[in-house]
Symmetry: D2
Subunit: 410 residues, 4 copies
């Protein structure tokens, strides 16, 4: 029987989510080709991945929103989801809309809390929320008779919290005692998913995915988790270009990146805390590749409303050559953010599902190429990250080890 896998999206009605659900439906119905899906390249040929039409969508959102409405809004602004496409997948969107549950607001940044709809419980106790989140996942699985559910966080960037619990035990105690300080929404979502036994993918810059509580829960439940922060545009190009300068012994004196974006993510980034999380991840990858203390690097992210869902970046690279020659490279990236991110979400779900069937748990370093700050992978160079994925695919194409296949059947 055809495998069915649930895609449970945190931030279920956001731009990327809408594009993933509508786009997944369009591909499943044969209305759109598979462009942008890494799992549909020769690299992944022969893998036993869940088919696109085996994906079932649902998720949490704190806004009073529906995918149908988001798709309309998004299509009007962006042109990606045309009226024709929206009509063709309307039933799919409505079905997913029935699987959307309220998110949590604990310690949410003010700019996030301001978006919350009436269904969101503003005074929900932590223990009640934690239990509810896990129950949401289990009932989604059971109601839809799913073989697996993969949880993907696609919410807007949230600021880091200083006093996050360092262990699963500390987390459980804080939740039980309803002591919110240090418990960010992303931590609650991540631990809930993993503790309930579901693979978790962190596509935003939230640090929760690599925190003590999540790692311990993943080990305990033997669940894979991976993140963080999808690498879709400027940072992707950085991790492609920077190794060239290293290989050719051309020290980078300055690398200045100016990002402009116009959607809700951009508006949220006007808050300094959220901005700091994002900028750190974008800069970190570069610094780890260049390994040069003298490089002056800077990342700016500015909100430019007229760009809507388009993300533009201008990067200036100033480098030194033989005999002290000073040279420059500049690039301009004009990407449709959601169209870049959405297929990677589908890829990650398919690959995380397969990893789990193969008996893998904990961080999945072979998925490093998808993230700005890949968990437990110290390779930042994109080509080397692709090599990790390629090697894993080769292994995954081989017959699965007995222990894993046994566990699966159980």
């Amino acid at each position: 029987m055809k495998r069915r896998v649930g895609v449970w999206i945190v931030g279920a009605c956001g731009n990327v989510a809408t594009c993933a659900v509508a786009g997944g439906a369009a591909v499943a119905r044969g209305l759109s080709d598979r462009t942008g899906l890494v799992t549909e390249t020769p690299l992944c040929a022969g893998l036993d991945l869940v088919p696109i039409d085996g994906l079932v969508f649902g998720g949490w959102d704190i806004r009073e929103a529906t995918l149908v409405r988001s798709a309309k809004e998004f299509g009007d602004r962006n042109g990606l989801l045309t009226p024709e496409l929206r009509r063709a997948v309307a039933a799919d969107l409505r079905r997913a809309d029935r699987e959307i549950r309220p998110g949590v607001l604990v310690n949410a940044a003010p700019e996030i809390a301001a978006m919350a709809g009436p269904a969101v419980r503003r005074r929900e106790r932590l223990d009640a929320a934690f239990a509810r989140l896990k129950e949401d996942l289990r009932s989604f699985r059971d109601r839809n008779r799913l073989d697996e559910v993969v949880v993907v966080n696609l919410t807007s960037t949230e600021p880091g919290l200083d006093d996050a619990p360092a262990t699963l035990d500390a987390f459980r105690r804080a939740v039980a005692a309803n002591r919110p300080p240090g418990i960010s929404p992303s931590l609650l979502y991540a631990v809930a998913a993993v503790d309930a036994g579901f693979p978790f993918v962190e596509f935003t810059p939230a640090a929760a995915v690599g925190s003590g509580p999540v790692r311990e829960a993943a080990e305990l439940r033997r669940v894979p988790h991976m993140g963080r922060d999808g690498k879709t545009g400027e940072t992707l190009v950085k991790t492609v270009l920077a190794p060239m300068f290293v290989a050719r012994h051309l020290p980078v004196m300055s690398w200045e990146g100016f990002n402009m974006l116009g959607n809700r993510d951009g508006a949220v980034l006007r808050a300094p805390g959220s901005l700091a999380s994002k900028v750190r991840d974008k800069d970190e990858a570069l610094r780890r590749i260049l390994r040069d203390e003298t490089t002056h690097s800077r990342v700016r992210i500015d909100y430019v409303p007229s760009l809507d869902d388009w993300k533009q970046a201008y990067d200036f690279i100033h480098f030194k050559g033989f005999l002290g020659a000073r040279m420059q490279m500049h690039f301009l990236w004009q990407g449709c953010d959601s169209a870049l991110a959405a297929p990677l979400v589908l890829d990650l779900v398919r690959l995380a599902d397969l990893a789990r069937r193969r008996g893998e748990s904990g961080p999945l370093p072979h998925l490093a190429c998808f993230f700005k700050t890949p968990l437990d992978a110290d390779v930042q160079e994109f080509a080397e990250q692709m090599k990790l994925l390629s090697d894993w695919c080769a292994r995954a194409r081989a017959p699965a080890p007995v222990s894993a296949s046994r566990r699966r059947r159980a």
Copy 2:
């Protein structure tokens, strides 16, 4: 005793040659750091390479020129070879100038022939020229007591010839009979070098390095040869960026590259034949990576005199994403051509010398990363080419196999 290796440059007084000789001297004297030299990165650490101060320079040129004069001219226009630097390496340049011999003009393109100085024999018979070239190399080696001589072609681009001899035998017969059609200067230089037993590196787009006569001679004499066309700027970036689009399943609809350069190489490229050779190499690498018949790619190279030795390129990349989203990337490259090429020339000499000592002969695919059209290497992706070099370095660091070391001693 310290190893001494000759660097015999075809086009000995050109910009790249001048920069390589003056720069090599500056590094040897400790006046300049090793920026730009791949052989001075951690990748090559521990290799038994000839030291920079073990390199001795000489070569052929058809112009009535000296390195001292070129350095002055180049320094004034370019700023790279400052008066201070020129003074400091003046003795080195004069020493190299004493090792410069006239090149050959057989079938030279008119724009090349027009540059020839009085010392160049315009009516030299092919057989006399061929013998003289080989003798030039041997006497250079003996006079300077060199352990090895590596010949590097740095001349300006020449047009391809239709009726080039396909075999070494055909070449020898044409030379003996003084039948010039099909014998380009680069072919004569390359066969002379290899037939006299010296490794040959083709840094220009000339096809000779991979032709039948050179391959046969290399096999016969057990000599390594490699090329063609140094990958220093726009094409380097192309082979770095293009794999990203492939990896992410983002089909490139159009890739338009506009190159501008202002030095003698640029002036020569105004001739359509030479331009065709160059453009073919620049486009080929891209097409082999994208493997997409629908991609519209174009390479333009324009002469912009005010740029002097600077090479600028603007590239426009139009690509498709999920749900048919059309996105763009643009890059601007502002490179000092000679400063990019010169250290690679020194790298190639050092690596070719080591390869020979290791008993390698014929094409050296592990040097693919240095060339636009690497001989016998079907990887165009820069990161994969670097992997070839890295693997070779690992092998070369290990003790050399007995057979090779024996042969070397013999």
Copy 3:
């Protein structure tokens, strides 16, 4: 009673025409704002211009095409004419479609002739064609009870002809004798329009508008005419930026312009003759402003199909400053060609109509700002061209001279 003016477009189903007709209708119906219309800025406030909903469209085309079909095709490719908009103006497009007549093919470039539909008479005699064109205009006017008809040439670029007749008399003799050499389609259209007493606007690079026959006919019939080659993108920016370098005494060493476009105009420009006409106009404006013989300027126009109706240009400007400092400016223009050109077509019709009512005839230098090579206007600087228009507007706002108003009533 409200003034009614006919807009007779040569190339009536092309992209610009389609956008002008559909856009004019959308503005008239209040569905679209007046963005892009110069005649709707404060500069033109108070002028007695024909209202947008007083414009009636028709024209010639050699293709078997309709505006309804073009709008569909254009909308699908370009996104500018959305399905909603097309539905809203469908009646207007159909009405205009009923006013489209076959164009002429005399001496048409092969790439143009290849597009011709079955209705176009391939063997029409020149005298018959000339008479027919004039009759088409008169019957359009009478049938629609128009106060005026302005003819605008929006065809693709055509190559220049060497032996064009220098005088109206020579033109008439060639037509009468059916001697096609030297008679280009654009010349036939232009003389027909002017000789029949209708103002003529040349929006393509065709030289006919300034030729002897047209000038003489315009004088004879007291009709205004103006051109040539609409200034919509890169050349507009050039004529805006270049005066800055002159004013600041910063000599431009090189100005290299790389244009890329993807629509039918681009495909036609692959023919060298047409390309030469276009490039000449784009370069000429710059050279006239810089007045510097040492400037190295180049214009390239390349066909990049994936761009469809978008026109991108990258320009590189290399300039000198105080103490010989060498500096650079680069710009990238990403314009929707039809959206830039279409409102200017409407502007030119309105302004030509008003000029005629004011008794003006012959070239209209105050419209120089709309053209790459303005007829009889030796100012190329955009700001100074705007001053000419502004001064004319001031005069036109004043009561019209008696003679003109009388003639109008007659």
Copy 4:
């Protein structure tokens, strides 16, 4: 007898000052051409300007610096002042160095005060400082037998002060009572210059030049003054390009400007107060041209040390066209800041000197084209500002009015 005019520079050893003094000397000695000098274009032909070799340099600086040292430092980093040039003008630099006096530190920003040398009196009373500054100017004039002295402020940007005195009287009272709050160095310099009877040019963003005390003193002493903030790069381009969008009725949705610079001015701008002054001036000009409340504009200025004296700017312009088409323009400016500013300093001195001889006093709106925020000139459009200058030149070429010429003789 040849006219001799003093150029008294505040910030006498800064980059722009060094370039102005060394460059002025090079031009006077015939070693460099007049590129970059607006007063040497046809526009200013026939004006009775002081010749370049009639300029005598001196000034104030708070740093312990000399022009000889600055020229060396600047030449090494920048390449503009070559060793040859420095040798040729060494005597001129030394002569100017003898005319440098200590500046004042009252209310200086911490980043400025940190640069002060030992000669600067850190506890100088305001009244003593004010008297000393005026005496410095008078003794410079007398010692060098100058016909005029023009004071030009070239210091780094300083933060605005909230409680600056609004009138000359209030200023005098604060100075007399030694009440520093509200008295910025630039205010002290400006009032001292004007009150002592010398024309004052504000080339930095300091607001003093348009303040009550300076205006009153200028009226009282009948002295011209003008500013503020030299328009040399990105803002110049903005005021050239923005009118095009207005003229063509293409509303600008977003205009994002990213400036990068690496010299001392850039380092100073890392202080938020100074940055705010600068950004305000750069943005204001644009907003006044566009007159569109909906435009989203932003100016960023970042310190990128590797750029040294080079100033790069990337600007992104997002605009709307006919039928709602959304289009983009981007530009990249790579300017050598000092080479752009220095000749304008010489121009302003020559034009201010001539204005004074013509009997003009108070703000000089015809010099608006030189400034980001021109005093009492409400035209921001560069072409219109050039028209103001051109009209003034026409008047200035005519015989001076009697009253003015009389006063001059008196």
